[in-house]
Symmetry: D2
Subunit: 151 residues, 4 copies
């Protein structure tokens, strides 16, 4: 693993929510991060499908860490905003979110994420996200509390 | 409780994710639903704050059920899409999301949600959402699998 | 030209705003529409760049007509909502928006658009959009006033 | 007029697009800007309604200038991103967009806009926007070309 991959993996491991959801970090490349999620009763909405919020949390995390792979060294990342379209019912054996950097900047990084549902050999897009990530300069993991960009 | 309040409360209770997050339904009015969330280690991102995804899941749920309170009787609801801005760090003793119907339609309902952080007597807005909800006609809780609007 | 291409071209031609902006329909394929825009003083914001609103209008139109190419015959289209990220300054000799259908449905179609700036042989992405389009059933060009999906 | 109001009015006057659309700046307060638009054939989509893109351009401008009223002196503003929901048909005698600052920051300002349609004594909400604006530090009107936050 490169330094960046190690930092992302460690940062992912420290997210309580990803553990709670049962999400698994499955890929870290420069500008791209992949996270898998298995459907379980703990993640459902009222009809038994995986909740839009659970899918979103995973896509947001994939975008944030994709941004981290291209941010200035030592930077931390915060979600400024995102938008998600849910385009198919969340029915699959396994969900895989891929977050990709579209444009990396000093202050802001713009990402897209796709959530794919895998059923046997089928792959269908379940949801798509467009996100803006803020690079907290020189924050790193040992830093104090970083401020939001709008603070 | 009115019939609608009962249906919303029961539907909320059947969401595995809301139980997993520890979210609590605290208010149901016509066109408005409130859900509270307490910060816990199980909900954090890498810096120990409540994860944007956890906040989003709660706001999405508040919007969906707010839409349900004004939907044709027997309808179920699905999130078509939403967009969230995170405007302050998620630091609070308690978070309360209020989802409100802005425009109710036969097919689509547009909602806004606000996530407020409570610290002592202070109230600050943490995040705002704009969401589109689809009314699944005549679905109700005993129906078969509803299709997404784009299916 | 196919029937669909003719309908799209005629519908584009009847948009007063596209004429006002000087936008040109440059491509119509199944699920994809391209529209070009030349920078002019009539389209600027306060610094002399092409206004985000002009770029958005063209991207929205590209998405709407892309959706029309896959909608049930006779359908008209309405924008339910969209979200745009502006990722580079709008400086180019020519702008080309490509709207693509990501998921076509009976009621709703989800599209993405990319606005590319051309400078000499360079091509850079200026903005990206994610949009939801409503199919107004059986409306067609001679129909009466269609209602919004939320009406 | 205060200095800020003068700067906003002058900046609005220098926008080619607002002139082209026939938009009129009707109010500037701290954190809030209002812009009016009259329906005309030059602004239509294919059914004769005011184009979503024209409404969006005006709402975006209202948000940008609302942000400018609370930005550090000498700052210029750029739209990072926005999202709009169109909730009623754009049928009115006159449209008025109100852009409001929800949270002002050093780097980013988050705004909401509402587009109201006036018909006789009726007032109805036509569209709502959520937007993120970037403060270009010390840019002002005489500055050189400001960079995008992601550049």
């Amino acid at each position: 693993m490169t330094d960046t991959q190690e930092i992302v993996a460690e940062s992912f491991g420290s997210q309580g929510l990803m553990k709670t959801l049962g999400a698994e970090l499955t890929g870290i490349d420069r500008g791209e991060v992949r996270i898998a999620l298995l459907p379980r009763a703990e993640l459902t909405q009222q009809d038994g499908y995986v909740h839009a919020g659970a899918l979103t949390a995973v896509m947001d995390t994939a975008c944030g860490f994709a941004a981290m792979t291209v941010a200035p060294p030592g930077s931390n990342v915060l979600s400024v905003e995102f938008k998600v379209n849910f385009i198919r019912l969340a029915v699959a054996d396994r969900f895989v979110a891929t977050g990709k950097v579209i444009k990396a900047g000093k202050t802001l990084t713009v990402c897209q994420a796709e959530m794919v549902g895998e059923r046997g050999s089928e792959r269908t897009t379940i949801a798509i996200m467009q996100a803006t990530i803020f690079n907290v300069p020189g924050a790193g993991k040992s830093s104090g509390r970083p401020g939001r960009p709008s603070e």
